[in-house]
């Protein structure tokens, strides 16, 4: 402030005229001044402040100006703010903001600043906002003057201005404008721009903190915004939900699946909030995945056929336990949550990783929790604050799930450069992880730590050794010996800590360790730390029977030095004396009297009191009452050994990763993590009806969008027309995939929709599918519209580049890319069969793969005529067959076109070549007329194209049928890099290589078409390839797992060369034929 910046100097030199401060009342001058003349031309800026208001603003100024020094200096600022130059205003605002930043009071400038709220210069405006938000609370009346500007801003055609107006308006903490805010929020919540809606979500908690009476209305807005389908809004609205109405879990039901699906595309901070909220939600809606691991085995019989009578007799008591005994099937929505959060373990944001980790810890089945360990250990490399928090959480987890972190034991080893608080936490984790197998390694590591220079850390290490010794019986003696050795350490602190720990250990089995007690007795000569001396004396007193000769001697020594001891030591000397008097009064009677006499005249009243008290208790006199008789019992009672346990035990009743968990105390606003319910609440509450979207509103909304959606089709409101574009990112160089993109997305949504709506639509869907061929265009249209409602169904449309990308990672290992059959074959029964693969799994996969997989060829197994009304079709779904990786999954669709019910439909008498195996589908008990059933069967073709013959039986008839696989279905794609491909190809030359030249037809020359044709002909995965005109694919045969490598080299024009490398020459030859045929089509 003292050295004036150049601008201010400049100001000083300015002619007095324009810079003259407007004094109250001289409106005439203002009107004539050039300042207002120019401003008048732009009503947008100044019309907010009427002339009256201006006068009002200018009013208080002269009074201030005449006051003290600092205000005088503020006067300069006021002058600058009133000037007509933006640069001066800016300079003034910058200085004011700098004052605010330093915590200096700038409130007296309020009138001068608030005038500029409508300034044209965007930076001045922003700084005025900063000022306004800071001081509006203190100067509410004046702040009201700015409101009209914001109200006008709320109607601005520009979405960013609308948003920023709402943001500032809601940040001004002036209770009087609550109704205005409420109105603004409601309006903004239905704004076209997702950015404005996001701001509305942010404004909700602001208003709520200002006036909690608005809660009901705000909940309505939250409910509305929760239904929003954009990733931009999701995080913010959940944050508002958590602040305003975290107990209204019912609002989440309908949005649950959508939130799960959007999660990966939400910004990082929103992810944290959503994951934490969903953890709580899941705890109220699903059953514990770990509830009946042990129960199931012992009472499996009962669980399945539990008698109903029992139930009714004692319904209340039995209900809970019976519910537990039911075989546990994870709710698909529960699985959905676990699956969709898992990739986020690889987020760069530690908070997100921690959020997912706690979600898995609280929600996942025991067997799956392990995945979080790796991610948490990775966080240990981060900043020390992050380490601190993560280690606290790891410490809690490691008590419950020790096995999880055991492989990472060494990551918790301590470096001498770690801060002490980190060292101690790592020590805690190491101690928790100690078990019989690794204890020797850990103890060796501890030995290094004991020599550390950081004495607090050494003390903690000794305690850790003590804990290991109590927990693991095997090493107790080793630890004890080690600790005894430490007794001769030069550092007293170390000795003292060891003594204390030894004392605790000895209490567990004193009889065996009289040697150690003797050793410790000797220490009294040297050791000076009062706590340690006291511990030794206590030990000797407590176990004086084990050291009958030494104990009186120690007392003798202590009696000598009694007067010089610390208070805690004196107390223990008295204790020792009393105990000895009771056990060995002959030798110690006089000594005890002596000690008690010394104590009687001690300076400390505690000691004097104790002495008197003990004398009365132990020395029998005529006055002493009944207590005397029990003195021995009182003093030498069995005392329980102290339990050395982690301070992190049972901390997991707090949600991990929360502030409350860290502090081990309930923080303000902490939401308890509910216990699992005994009975699962109705899962159907999460079902969403799909509204039909109309086209009319979508057009104008799209104009707002700056970018086409890329990773997700997050702009749900953009309606049906959007679905085509959304699958085609702007990055696409050629226009080839425009068509395929849209078809991909539509087929994808159909797949997922199918399941989502299975309850509603049921069999109706399938009949529709049968007509798919004829009704293609219509269907596409319909699906497009559905897609809009589906949220992220079409996200990650990456497979378009030709390479089949992969579905969401399954729980343990990512499966190879599996093309998905068109919707027709995913039956309801299949869905339940493939328990884990629910909803989005299927919704995502087709999106990834369908470009390479236009339509699944279906084959006829039994014609309607031959089957007397029963028609059976099959196709190769290219999914892994559950239970046997060598089997090809065959999807079979059976339709009953008769007018009678078909019963007990099953496979029988398979006639197979040697080696071939068949896994029949479960018997279909009945199939109503007009109904269709979908089943899956697995066939191991033994890598041959020989047909599998079997009978299809109904209750009345047998049909002989056979399934012959195209060679392309006998393999499954494998992932490999270009280099691996080349390496493998090098091994498979000569006889194993089949080369054929071919001419590509006109329509089959683009990347896309080639890849699609090849992948439809054979179940292969694309291998990334450097050269533009080469295509590589790889697969493994199902049974023997031998590699099949396909290379297609496009030469000039239409000529191409196809090479297939495979050990199985027959397969190779047939494959070449099939591919050429496919390409020629």
């Amino acid at each position: 402030m003292l050295s004036l910046p150049p601008v201010q100097k400049l100001l000083r030199q300015l002619p007095a005229g324009p810079a003259k401060p407007p004094v109250g009342g001289d409106t005439a001058e203002e009107v004539t001044s050039p300042v207002l003349a120019t401003e008048a031309g732009q009503p947008a800026c100044y019309s907010a402040l009427q002339v009256d208001e201006l006068r009002l603003l200018a009013g208080p100024k002269p009074a201030v100006a005449t006051s003290t020094g600092p205000s005088l200096r503020h006067d300069d600022l006021k002058e600058m703010l009133d000037s007509n130059k933006d640069s001066l205003k800016l300079e003034a605002m910058k200085r004011i903001v700098a004052m605010i930043a330093r915590g200096k009071n700038a409130s007296d400038l309020f009138p001068a600043v608030v005038k500029n709220v409508a300034c044209k210069n965007i930076e001045v405006k922003k700084l005025v906002y900063v000022y306004l938000v800071r001081y509006a609370e203190e100067q509410q009346d004046l702040a009201l003057l700015s409101i009209s500007t914001f109200q006008r801003g709320l109607k601005d055609p520009n979405q960013l201005i609308r948003a920023s107006a709402l943001r500032v308006l809601s940040s001004i903490r002036v209770p009087i404008i609550v109704p205005i805010m409420m109105l603004a929020i409601k309006e903004a919540a239905s704004d076209m721009s997702p950015y404005v809606r996001k701001t509305a979500a942010h404004a909700i908690p602001k208003l709520y903190s200002l006036d909690s009476d608005q809660k009901d209305q705000l909940i309505e807005v939250i409910e509305k915004l929760l239904a929003d389908k954009t990733t931009l809004v999701a995080g913010s609205v959940v944050m508002a939900f958590e602040e305003v109405c975290p107990e209204r879990i019912d609002l989440i039901h309908k949005n649950y699946r959508k939130l799960c699906n959007l999660l990966i595309d939400v910004e990082e901070w929103g992810q944290v909030v959503i994951i934490n909220m969903l953890t709580r939600y899941a705890r109220t809606q699903f059953l514990s995945p770990n509830q009946n691991e042990s129960l199931l085995e012992e009472s499996a019989e009962k669980a399945f056929y539990g008698s109903e009578e029992e139930d009714t007799k004692e319904p209340k008591a039995e209900a809970a336990s019976l519910a537990k005994r039911k075989p546990y099937v994870m709710d698909p929505d529960h699985r959905l949550l676990l699956r969709n959060t898992k990739p986020l373990l690889q987020s760069r944001n530690a908070a997100v990783v921690m959020a997912v980790a706690q979600l898995y810890f609280h929600l996942a089945p025991k067997a799956e929790v392990g995945v979080i360990a790796k991610a948490l250990v990775r966080l240990l490399r981060s900043h020390s604050e992050v380490q601190y928090v993560v280690l606290q959480n790891v410490a809690t987890m490691s008590i419950k799930r020790r096995g999880m972190f055991e492989p990472y034991l060494k990551s918790f080893y301590i470096r001498s450069t770690d801060p002490t608080q980190i060292k101690i936490l790592k020590l805690e984790v190491l101690t928790n992880l100690a078990n019989e197998t690794n204890i020797s390694t850990i103890l060796r590591e501890f030995q290094t730590y004991i020599r550390s220079m950081d004495k607090d850390f050494v003390a903690a290490t000794i305690q850790a050794i003590g804990r290991c010794a109590t927990n693991i019986g095997k090493v107790r003696d080793t630890c004890l010996n080690g600790l005894v050795q430490l007794l001769s350490n030069r550092d007293e602190l170390v000795v003292a800590e060891s003594v204390v720990v030894i004392k605790k250990l000895l209490q567990m089995q004193p009889a065996q360790h009289s040697e150690i007690i003797k050793h410790m007795a000797k220490l009294t000569d040297n050791i000076q730390v009062p706590m340690a001396r006291a511990s030794i004396l206590w030990l000797i007193g407590e176990y004086c029977e084990h050291v009958p000769k030494i104990a009186p001697d120690v007392l003798r020594k202590m009696a000598k030095s009694f007067t010089n001891e610390e208070d805690i030591v004196k107390l223990q000397v008295i204790n020792l004396a009393a105990k000895l008097y009771l056990t060995n009064s002959k030798q110690s009677k006089l000594l005890t009297q002596y000690v008690l006499n010394l104590a009687k005249y001690d300076q400390n009243y505690d000691i004097r009191d104790r002495a008197r008290f003990i004398r009365q208790l132990i020395v029998p006199t005529e006055k002493s009452g009944a207590l005397n008789k029990y003195a021995k019992k009182l003093f030498l009672a069995q005392k329980p050994a102290p339990i050395l346990e982690s301070s992190f035990k049972d901390r997991d009743h707090f949600q991990l990763g929360s502030l409350s968990h860290l502090l081990n105390a309930k923080a303000v606003g902490y939401q308890e993590l509910p216990d699992w319910p005994d009975e699962a609440p109705d899962p159907s509450v999460r079902n969403v009806e799909v509204p039909e979207w109309t086209k009319c509103t979508s057009r104008e909304k799209r104009k707002e969008k700056a970018e086409k959606p890329f990773y997700s089709d997050s702009d749900g409101e953009s309606g049906p027309t959007e679905s085509a574009d959304s699958a085609v990112p702007h990055a696409e160089p050629e226009s080839v995939s425009e068509e395929s993109g849209s078809s991909s997305s539509s087929s994808s949504s159909s797949g997922s929709e199918e399941e989502e709506e299975e309850e509603e639509e049921g069999s109706g869907e399938q009949s529709e599918d049968k007509e798919e061929e004829e009704k293609r265009p219509k269907r596409k249209d319909k699906e497009g519209s559905r897609k809009a409602a589906m949220g992220s169904a079409g996200r990650y449309p990456l497979g378009k580049r030709g390479a089949p990308a992969e579905p969401l990672p399954a729980l343990i290992t990512p499966p190879p890319p599996q093309p998905i059959p068109s919707s027709s074959i995913i039956s309801t029964s299949l869905v339940t069969d493939l328990e884990g693969l629910t909803l989005t799994d299927t919704s995502l996969t087709p999106a990834l793969l369908s470009p390479a997989f236009g339509a699944v060829r279906t084959y006829e197994l039994l014609h309607r005529m031959a089957g007397e009304g029963l028609s059976v079709e099959y196709c190769f779904s290219r999914r892994p067959f559950p239970g046997d990786p060598h089997m090809v999954a065959v999807h079979i669709q059976i339709s009953n076109n008769t007018d009678a019910e078909v019963k007990s439909l099953r496979v029988s008498e398979p006639k197979l070549l040697s080696g071939m195996r068949i896994q029949e589908f479960p018997e279909i008990e009945r199939l109503a007329p007009g109904d269709t059933a979908n089943v899956v069967m697995g066939i191991d073709f033994c890598d041959s194209t020989q047909a599998a013959n079997f009978q299809l039986c109904t209750h009345t008839r047998h049909f002989y049928v056979s399934i012959q696989p195209p060679v392309g279905e006998l393999m499954a794609p494998v992932f490999m890099s270009e280099n691996e491909f080349k390496k493998e190809q090098g091994k498979l030359t000569g006889m194993s290589e089949i080369t054929e030249k071919l001419t590509l037809p006109e329509k089959c020359r683009s990347d896309h078409a080639i890849v699609q044709q090849v992948t439809s002909a054979a179940n292969v995965g694309r291998v990334p390839c450097g050269a533009d005109n080469e295509y590589r694919f790889a697969a493994k045969t199902m049974t023997s797992g031998s590699l099949v490598l396909i290379t297609l080299e496009q030469r000039e024009g239409a000529v191409a060369q196809l090479t297939v490398n495979s050990e199985k020459m027959v397969i190779g030859t047939m494959l070449v034929k099939d591919i050429i045929q496919a390409l020629a089509q």
Partner: protein, 418 residues
């Protein structure tokens, strides 16, 4: 969530405060100062402090404490991560995150904080978006601004925030299109007294500097992607593509950013490029000790080990050290008891050695423990894990970019116990 933020320097001055909700008095920091006093060392200040009405969550970065005030339950990592993001942003804007830099640019700092947090909830934390909203200061711009009166605040709307690629700004244009990747690997290791490895792992990052026009869609593939089994990604990376093909496919942010960080942990994979022979002893009942350390190369794949520096925290009883170094120079600070030996390059023909006498405080007991040696080094053009970038492909744009990959291996937390 986050109520207020105070920036405090090492001498305990609060030099910046920002409130996102009602104003919280500076006096709340007294609890922090109390904890700081108790902790003695700055590193040991607990990151979370509970006070009667608030919770303080703090980080320590570049000699500044960022103390945030919280009033209700919030995941502590959420706040810590955000504060680090703030510090990173300052670093990014001003080149350093120091007290002077913040004080000099207090207005920009304030504007940034305003944009980064709304009512305590993070709003825009992506550097690309922030830079569109608030332009970073440059000398040229500040000169121009002071003349023309224009501002650092962008008057165009940040398109990124509205798009589905929020990390990239729109309309990027370069005359030279370049993409550089630095594969930086750090070896964290604990070597025990006898020279065997107690613990070793590689912490790697790929830092990128992408200056490409338009909306490039890159895919980066590796020769040996299987090495990377524990990876964390920048949000721009398509996770699915990585899972299925082990290819990093992404639309990059503009400028510098960290693409991935990864950890290679299986111990036998980690080659330790140097060995240390040491002989440190303190004699009983005499005020001296011996110190003899030799560093030599090992498993360095034919590359030279450079910029070798050894730091040792000597025990408190050490008064001074009289050493001779065959190579490089050493300093011993008798106050902090830190010995630093700047070795430089290691040539296998003549191994660098540092030896001599240690003077101990007379009368003090001999130090219990030998100090551990912290080693730093650098190896150019080598990623010790063997990770190799195979190729970088660009889609979506027509031009041919210049591509570059640099490998470097460093010592991370590399400690030799003696």
């Amino acid at each position: 969530m986050i109520h207020s933020l105070f920036l405090i320097n090492c001498s305990g001055d609060i030099f910046l405060e920002k409130h996102w909700k009602s104003v919280v008095s500076q006096s709340v920091c007294d609890y922090f100062f109390e904890a700081q006093e108790k902790a003695i060392d700055v590193e040991n200040v607990p990151p979370v402090i509970s006070t009667p009405h608030h919770y303080l969550i703090s980080i320590y970065r570049d000699k500044i404490f960022f103390v945030s005030v919280i009033q209700s339950e919030v995941p502590p990592l959420f706040v810590i991560e955000f504060l680090h993001r703030v510090a990173d942003t300052f670093q990014d804007y001003f080149g350093e995150c120091s007290e002077t830099a913040i004080k000099d640019n207090v207005v920009i700092v304030y504007e940034l904080l305003e944009e980064m947090l709304d009512n305590g909830f993070p709003l825009a934390t992506e550097s690309n978006i922030l830079k569109e909203l608030i332009k970073p200061p440059t000398i040229l711009r500040s000169v121009v601004n002071s003349i023309t009166g224009s501002s650092n605040v962008g008057d165009t709307l940040p398109t990124g925030q509205l798009s589905n690629i929020p990390w990239r700004r729109a309309g990027v244009k370069y005359t030279n299109n370049e993409a550089y990747f630095d594969v930086v690997e750090e070896i964290d290791a604990i070597i025990d007294k006898s020279g065997s490895t107690v613990f070793a792992e590689i912490q790697g990052v790929i830092d990128s500097c992408i200056k490409l026009s338009g909306m490039p869609d890159l895919s980066l593939s590796f020769m040996n992607p299987r090495l990377l089994d524990d990876v964390s990604f920048h949000p721009c990376i398509r996770f699915k593509r990585w899972e299925s093909e082990r290819v990093l496919s992404f639309i990059p942010p503009d400028g510098n950013f960290r693409l991935i960080s990864y950890r290679v942990s299986s111990q036998n994979l980690v080659a330790i490029p140097v060995y240390v022979k040491h002989m440190i002893s303190f004699k009983e009942n005499s005020s001296s000790g011996r110190f003899d350390v030799t560093i030599g190369p090992k498993q360095n794949m034919g590359k030279t080990v450079e910029s070798v520096v050894m730091t040792v925290h000597m025990p408190k009883a050490v008064l001074n050290m009289n050493l001779t170094a065959t190579q490089g120079s050493y300093t011993f600070d008798p106050v902090t008891k830190v010995l630093t030996w700047d070795v430089g390059k290691i040539t296998p023909q003549k191994l660098p050695n540092l030896k001599g006498l240690v003077n101990l405080q007379s009368g003090a007991p001999k130090p219990e423990e030998n100090p551990s040696l912290n080693i730093q080094f650098k190896i150019q053009q080598l990623a010790i894990s063997g990770l190799k970038v195979n190729r970088l492909d660009m889609y979506g744009e027509k031009y041919k970019p210049f591509k570059g990959v640099k490998y470097i291996t460093k010592a991370g937390k590399f400690q030799v116990r003696t």
